[in-house]
């Protein structure tokens, strides 16, 4: 009977050893590099860390575009990264590729269109009616929204409104009679293709 006890004891001892040994010496530290799936976490983490960055910081832009940067930095738009509108800067900085700013109404609308879900205190407009079909930068200076578009430096105006109509509208139903291309006082080039019914959306009589 004694040999059975001895064998059973040995087996029990081996089992205990097999259970506890890996937990004492910590297999994870010295066995991980071997086996079917060798791992090297640190080398892999370094691989991830070595990937190139596409987005620079806005502060990088200041070294060349100090004027625009200065205006932007002081404005309420200073929380909006340059690259939000101008797209990632890596290719521009390293290879001199031209960045094209997105000036579409849709881009401004991403933040400023009146949409359910947005905090009420955030400035929002009805994008369908506000400003007709003009691109926003016609009236608003994106680098300093409290200034009008024409005014890139100097004191901010109270509002960013387009010029008011300095004359009476009595008997002057058709704006385009005088203000179309070739008229007495033609509208700016970027107004091309706008119809008569949109004038009064932006231009109010005094």
């Amino acid at each position: 009977m004694k040999h059975l006890v001895r064998a059973g004891g040995l087996l029990l001892g081996l089992l205990l050893l097999a259970f506890f040994l890996p937990r004492i010496v910590g297999t994870t530290t010295y066995l991980e590099g071997y086996g079917f799936y060798p791992r090297n976490d640190e080398a892999n983490a370094n691989e991830w860390a070595s990937l190139p960055a596409q987005y620079a910081e806005s502060s990088v832009c200041s070294s060349c575009h100090a004027d625009k940067y200065g205006a932007w930095k002081e404005s309420v738009h200073s929380t909006v990264n340059c690259e939000d509108c101008h797209s990632p800067g890596k290719a521009h900085i390293e290879e001199g590729k031209t960045l094209v700013a997105d000036t579409s109404r849709e881009l401004c609308g991403l933040c400023h269109a009146k949409v359910i879900g947005r905090p009420r205190s955030f400035p929002q407009v009805d994008i369908k009616t506000h400003g007709g079909v003009s691109i926003c930068t016609t009236c608003h200076n994106p680098h300093n929204p409290s200034q009008s578009a024409q005014q890139d430096s100097g004191k901010p105006t109270e509002t960013a409104r387009p010029p008011a109509i300095p004359h009476t509208l009595e008997g002057r139903d058709n704006c385009l009679l005088c203000h179309s291309t070739g008229g007495i006082k033609p509208f700016p080039g970027d107004h091309d293709g706008r119809s008569l019914d949109t004038c009064s959306i932006c231009h109010k009589s005094k």
């Binding site: 910590g26 991830w48 596409q54 738009h77 690259e83 947005r118």
Partner: protein
């Protein structure tokens, strides 16, 4: 005739004595067997519990749903542009008068929420409250995804970021199923699991994650939690924060401000 009482006591006694003289972590290992979960260090010894040095704070009250973060993430990290592959995304929650909850995340929010067709359904809705919720990998300190990986292809970095070894990943999708936050997806080009790395290549260089850089309202804040002067430190110290699905015990590293009970 069988084992005598004397022999039983002798062998048993020797066995117990043997247990007590094995030094080191045995007591904690025993404790773990007796009551699993109380001893994290041993239970998760396979590099599965790392307190992150970095912390991410998302302020739901500030988010305007412009989707610049989603776009920045895709451009920065070469994430497939199709809408079903995202490392980060923005959800919109709308709760109406009778408490019904509507959730949408059109194209993960990359094109914003201002397009007409996205809002017609809410036109006649009496919305009681509505808000945007940016989501990303929570870089859990006790991760379901690392636990289930059969080949050990996903791991914690020394800073506590969860990464995927693309050479080791066999694309079995277990981790995608395991993540309670839906933060993982299978990269259609490489057929390996992919997820948000908090822009590991940027933060290790001292830059901010691309989504944080792109956020125009400061709804995403990133920083070093061990630095008491950092914004994340003061925010988590002074603001009421909460994590997503705390009941799962994953110990996320993303704190939310303005978390609502309807958020899933």
């Amino acid at each position: 005739m069988g084992i005598t009482r004397r022999d039983f006591i002798r062998v048993g006694g020797l066995g117990l004595l043997g247990l007590t003289i094995i030094p080191g972590r045995i007591p904690t290992a025993l404790q773990d067997i007796v009551s699993p979960g109380t001893n994290q260090q041993v239970r998760t010894s396979r590099s599965d519990s790392k307190a992150s040095r970095w912390r991410f704070v998302v302020d739901i009250r500030k988010c305007i749903g412009c989707g610049r973060c989603v776009k920045a993430c895709k451009l920065e990290n070469d994430v497939p542009l199709q809408p079903e592959y995202n490392r980060t995304w923005v959800e919109r929650y709308v709760v109406n008068d009778s408490g019904e909850v509507f959730v949408d995340s059109p194209n993960a929010g990359i094109d914003g929420f201002s397009a007409d067709y996205l809002n017609t359904k809410y036109q006649n809705l009496k919305a009681r409250k509505s808000f945007f919720v940016p989501k990303l990998c929570n870089q859990c300190q006790r991760t379901p995804c690392i636990q289930v990986c059969p080949v050990g292809a996903t791991y914690h970095t020394k800073e506590g970021i969860v990464l995927v070894d693309r050479k080791a990943c066999i694309g079995c999708r277990y981790c995608i199923q395991a993540c309670p936050y839906g933060a993982r997806f299978l990269d259609p080009r490489l057929k390996v699991a992919d997820k948000c790395t908090w822009c590991y290549h940027r933060i290790t260089r001292g830059l901010l994650p691309a989504c944080v850089e792109a956020c125009p309202v400061g709804a995403r804040v990133f920083g070093d939690i061990t630095d008491p002067e950092s914004t994340v430190s003061s925010m988590t110290r002074e603001e009421p924060t909460a994590v997503l699905k705390p009941d799962l015990g994953t110990e996320p590293s993303v704190d939310y401000i303005g978390l609502d009970k309807v958020i899933r």
